[in-house]
């Protein structure tokens, strides 16, 4: 099976952000804002950590 690691990470971030946003907020607008911030945070941190591991591999 050929699956992109990045795509799987994005998919994971999407599900977790969706569930947390719906759990934490009641209004659709707030849910969208929280979910988008969480999703962006997931992707941003993963991207930065990914690049940090390039010169400093674990």
């Amino acid at each position: 099976m050929t699956t992109s690691h990045f795509l799987l990470m994005v998919l994971y971030a999407l599900f977790v952000s969706l569930v947390f946003a719906v759990l934490l907020k009641d209004q659709p607008r707030e849910q969208l804002k929280t979910g988008a911030m969480m999703f962006g945070g997931f992707i941003g941190v993963a991207y930065v950590l990914g690049w940090l591991m390039f010169p400093f591999p674990l």
């Binding site: 099976m1 799987l8 977790v16 569930v19 009641d26």
Partner: protein, 136 residues
């Protein structure tokens, strides 16, 4: 207005113990059912679709459903997390799915999806419990 759950979102009196237990049990068995039962239709539907789908993706990625082995604490904790999703877990066991392929590139991703789906459902159960208690 009929489809909105805002009217049902007002704080209300705590449910009886039997009803609380029913809400928690249903919420475990069918993710989101506890919310649907309490009139939180939109939230319930999101959980009902998202969590089993996440679990199914975990199986598709060849993740493993861990056995309850007390001798290995991490495997034991993983097993508890896997079981958090309820009916999808039971169905997967009946279908002999979730054997896991350690050599697959997506194996760890699969495990992460499976366990996270179960752990998120634990949070959903707690949320349903809080709503039934009138805290939300």
């Amino acid at each position: 207005m009929g489809t909105k759950s805002t009217a049902a979102e007002r704080p209300r009196a705590a449910a009886e113990p039997a009803r609380l237990a029913l809400i928690c049990a249903l919420s475990w068995l069918f993710p989101g059912a506890g919310h649907l039962l309490q009139g939180r239709r939109e939230k319930g539907l999101v959980f009902l679709v998202a969590l089993p789908l996440m679990f199914a993706i975990g199986l598709w990625l060849q993740g493993r459903l861990f056995p309850l082995e007390l001798s290995d604490p991490l495997v034991f904790l993983g097993a508890i997390a896997d079981r958090g999703i309820g009916a999808p877990y039971i169905i997967a066991r009946f279908m002999d799915a979730g054997a896991g392929t350690v050599t697959a590139a997506s194996y760890e991703y699969g495990n992460t999806f499976l366990m996270t789906a179960g752990l998120l459902n634990f949070l959903v159960i707690l949320d349903a419990f809080d709503i039934a208690q009138g805290r939300k």
